[in-house]
């Protein structure tokens, strides 16, 4: 068996499909592309494709990840080409690398995500509000659960917030804890900052996913940052 890590983008109209829809869509594209998928054992064998982290409806993701288990070795360029030929408009594989079978499941490693909100309308000064959030001890937030409402403190899930001006327009960046043991959703931060929600035209992008190892932030694709400031510095270099 071989394991590959696929970095892909989900954007355009496809940001409106759910995580389950995305999984289905990918699997069907892989089957059309005749990729030799490995299957799990048991009565109803499932193809072994593991997605890093679900992305909410309406948010685009430009560096999303999934792990692919294949029954045999394949040349990575060929793999990328074949998959891209079969993906619907709005999904694209950006690159593929080989990964050791020994590594833990990608979904278990994800610990943080960087989001960018494009602020279409001028929201006035945000510095004050951002400062208030970051200096707050606690940020209780009501969440709707299956069994009614629940109060959650989301302050520990906010790693950092900052503003950047890109090409003349303003952007809010949010580095948030995410993953299987809890996290904050970017929409919650928008609400706390009294910024317009997605349906009012705010465009939200997940720029990157990270594994967290102590202070360190590592992307599933292999880039490593020693701390949050290095992530910010990398962002600035992009400008």
């Amino acid at each position: 068996m071989e394991r590959f890590r696929v970095c892909f983008a989900k954007s355009g109209m496809l940001k409106y499909i759910s995580h389950l829809d995305l999984q289905r869509t990918f699997l069907r594209a892989l089957r059309r592309a005749k990729i030799p998928l490995a299957y799990s054992q048991g009565f109803s064998p499932q193809p072994r494709v593991v997605f890093a982290a679900p992305l909410g409806i309406g948010i685009e993701g430009i560096n999303e990840y999934l792990d692919l288990f294949l029954t045999r070795q394949m040349q990575m360029e060929l793999l990328e080409k074949r998959i891209n030929k079969q993906l619907p408009m709005g999904l694209i594989v950006k690159n593929i690398c080989s990964i050791s079978l020994e590594e833990p499941a990608i979904s278990a490693l994800i610990g943080a995500a960087l989001y960018r909100a494009r602020l279409e309308m001028d929201p006035g000064s945000l510095q004050q509000n951002i400062g208030n959030l970051l200096s707050a001890e606690q940020l209780p937030k009501e969440r709707q659960h299956k069994k009614g409402k629940k109060q959650v403190d989301i302050r520990p899930f906010i790693l950092d917030l900052w503003e950047e001006e890109i090409g003349g327009s303003r952007n809010l960046f949010m580095l948030l804890v995410t993953g299987s043991s809890g996290g904050a959703r970017p929409e919650e931060i928008l609400e706390l900052l009294q910024l317009p929600e997605l349906r009012k035209g705010t465009i939200l992008t997940r720029e990157s996913l990270f594994f967290r190892v102590g202070e360190k932030l590592l992307t599933p694709g292999g880039a490593a940052y020693n701390n949050i400031n290095e992530v910010k510095a990398w962002r600035e270099k992009l400008l």
């Binding site: 829809d21 069907r28 594209a29 892989l30 009565f43 709005g90 035209g201």
Partner: protein, 617 residues
């Protein structure tokens, strides 16, 4: 991106994936590539519409016609309807976001009566006047096809024309005719096209006919125009093998009701169940060959990447080469592609087939004995014995299946409480069989009983029968519920009696019912098949407002001599045969399946086996 599919709309509704229109295999054409713009409309939600084979066939057939662009338009979910109304936007097509009113033609699939109000909703939201008489030159032609086109009268005022029978040959003919007309003579007005299209076999233009009544009762229908043929003959695709089939099924993003590819093994069914309309209107039986089907299976998987293929037909264990087909598919398809057989006979052969294709036993098996007693099964001509049902169930449990689902109908002609007692006994016996040790369903039930209500359908031997009244349906449901509740490992579900009543009224309706339909629509009725949307009281108010009693349709048994509102639409099966079958039903005499045995003399001229004339057997 069409402006209608903007974030402002899409993020305000649940499941925006319903409205994207860019699924794999969706067809996109530029405006200079077509002259005729057809909307294929299905009056239900995306997930239902995208499960319907007929729509997919027509989509590919229409798009293959030179100069034609066919798109999909489905009923908006209530949340989308609200957004459209608030924003003052029109109902739009999925592929290009075009408003319904800007198409040349809008073709509705007519699949079940409880979707009728949704048709009116879609017309209204699409900016199209409800009644064909009110439509001007620029308004699209509204057509309808599907099983309910065999009694289209309750819909007559809302449609410009109907297509009766198989659509895959006749639709291209209509589109070509329209293309010529649009280019050359559209200045002559709508009626000019309707006259032309009325000449196509299988097309029914209701405004060219006028029903008449005696003492308020339907008494017949008169043709008003030279072009109005009587009767209207259905269209039949005789060579299914060569008929177009869409191997490039659209691949939905979201989960739909039948989330799988479909192979159509054959069309039609000759078992002759006397309540079944499909068994009459799709005659004769037409098969595809094993080599054709296996080729289609491979093409479908290649072009869609779907993980499951359903081997579909009205009764798949009747396909004579079913084992050969399974063998070929197993050999030729990837081992991870699942096969499913949706309509198996409740006999040991059915279980054997199921055994072979479905390794996942937790998913259970479904049988449809329809009636609980042998007497009643003989009345409805369900040619299956209690022995076969029991043996099939025993086999199913023995081979490891943990769950059996049973479908029955109540309110069938001649049914008494004794027949219900027999049903209870049959279920009792089945539930007493030892289930497998590891059924995989934990403490869940082993037997699920689902009971629907008999609806007497046009063109069947039971068209002269009536439905049970609602209180009596409920009494019988209660009778069963009390007994099934006490049984361990059995769960029981039943259909809403009021729902079935409305279904019966419109199944047997005449043109006068159109007013009730329109009233119900203005009172907010839509998507009546969804129990959370159905409002019986709104329907009752609509009947009252128009001054029509639904009971006179559903609870009335006409005599053989009474003219019926659907008599002018011909299925090719003669009335004498239906009368004979009705009489045999009452006497409890069964009629064999004409596929294996003798011709039963239904009079179908298109049948290669017939003795044709409908002679007494």
């Amino acid at each position: 991106m069409p402006s209608l599919q903007s974030p402002q709309l899409l993020l305000r509704v649940n499941k925006p994936a319903r409205y994207l229109g860019i699924e794999i295999n969706a067809v996109h054409k530029e405006p200079d590539q077509f002259q005729v713009h057809l909307a294929l409309a299905f009056p239900d939600l995306y997930e239902v519409a995208m499960s319907h084979l007929g729509l997919k066939i027509l989509y590919s057939v229409a798009n293959a016609v030179e100069g034609v662009y066919a798109e999909r338009v489905f009923a908006p979910a209530p949340d989308m309807e609200e957004v459209l109304q608030k924003e003052n936007k029109m109902l739009f097509s999925l592929e290009s976001g075009t408003s319904l009113q800007d198409f040349d033609m809008v073709g509705f699939t007519l699949q079940y009566e409880l979707a009728y109000t949704s048709i009116l909703t879609m017309l209204a939201l699409g900016g199209i006047p409800l009644r064909s008489a009110d439509r001007g030159v620029k308004v699209p032609f509204v057509l309808g096809g599907g099983p309910l086109a065999f009694n289209p009268e309750p819909l007559a005022p809302f449609f410009d024309f109907f297509v009766v029978g198989d659509g895959e040959e006749v639709l291209p003919e209509i589109l070509k005719l329209y293309k010529e007309w649009k280019a050359e003579s559209s200045a002559k007005g709508r009626d000019d096209f309707l006259k032309k299209v009325a000449g196509v076999t299988g097309v029914y233009v209701p405004s060219f006919y006028e029903p008449f009544y005696r003492e308020d009762k339907f008494a017949g229908i008169n043709p008003l125009a030279e072009e109005a043929s009587l009767p209207v003959e259905k269209r039949t695709v005789l060579n299914l093998e060569e008929a177009p089939y869409p191997c490039s099924f659209i691949v939905p993003f979201m989960e739909v009701v039948h989330d799988r590819a479909t192979l159509e093994l054959f069309r039609g069914c000759s078992q002759g169940c006397r309540f079944c309309q499909a068994g009459i209107i799709y005659r004769p039986v037409r098969e595809r060959t094993v080599s054709k089907l296996s080729q289609q299976a491979k093409d479908i998987i290649n072009q869609t990447g779907l993980e499951e293929i359903s081997l579909s037909s009205l009764s798949s264990s009747d396909y004579p080469y079913i084992e050969e087909l399974l063998e070929k598919l197993e050999a030729e398809l990837d081992e991870n592609i699942r096969l499913s057989l949706p309509s198996l006979r409740a006999d040991p052969f059915g279980v054997k087939l199921m055994e072979r294709i479905q390794k996942n036993k937790a998913s259970g098996i479904t049988f449809a004995p329809e009636a609980g007693s042998q007497r009643l099964r003989d009345v409805i001509n369900k040619n299956i014995t209690e022995e076969e049902i029991l043996e099939a169930s025993r086999d199913a449990f023995r081979t490891g299946r943990g769950h059996i689902k049973l479908y029955f109908m109540i309110g069938l002609p001649t049914e008494t409480y004794d027949d219900l007692r027999e049903m209870v006994k049959l279920v009792q016996k089945i539930s007493s069989f030892t289930p497998p040790k590891s059924g995989g369903r934990g403490n869940k039930s082993r037997v699920s009983v689902s009971v629907s209500n008999f609806v007497p359908k046009p063109h069947t031997p039971f068209q002269w029968e009536q439905q049970l009244n609602i209180p009596e349906v409920k009494r019988r449901q209660l009778f069963l519920r009390e007994r099934f509740q006490k049984m361990k490992g059995v769960d029981f579900t039943w259909h809403n009696a009021e729902n079935s009543f409305i279904e019966a009224v419109f199944a047997r309706g005449d043109r006068k019912l159109a007013a009730v339909l329109e009233k119900a629509f203005t009172k907010g009725c839509r998507m009546d098949a969804w129990s959370d949307m159905f409002s019986f009281s709104a329907w009752m108010q609509a009947f009252q407002a128009v001054g029509i009693k639904g009971e006179s349709y559903a609870l009335h048994s006409p005599s053989y001599d009474d003219p019926l509102p659907w008599d002018h639409i011909s299925t090719g099966v003669c009335k004498d045969f239906l009368i004979r079958e009705h009489q045999r039903a009452v006497e409890g005499i069964t009629t064999g399946d004409c596929r294996w045995g003798n011709c039963a003399g239904c009079g179908l001229e298109a049948c290669s086996k017939q003795n044709g004339k409908g002679e007494q057997i």
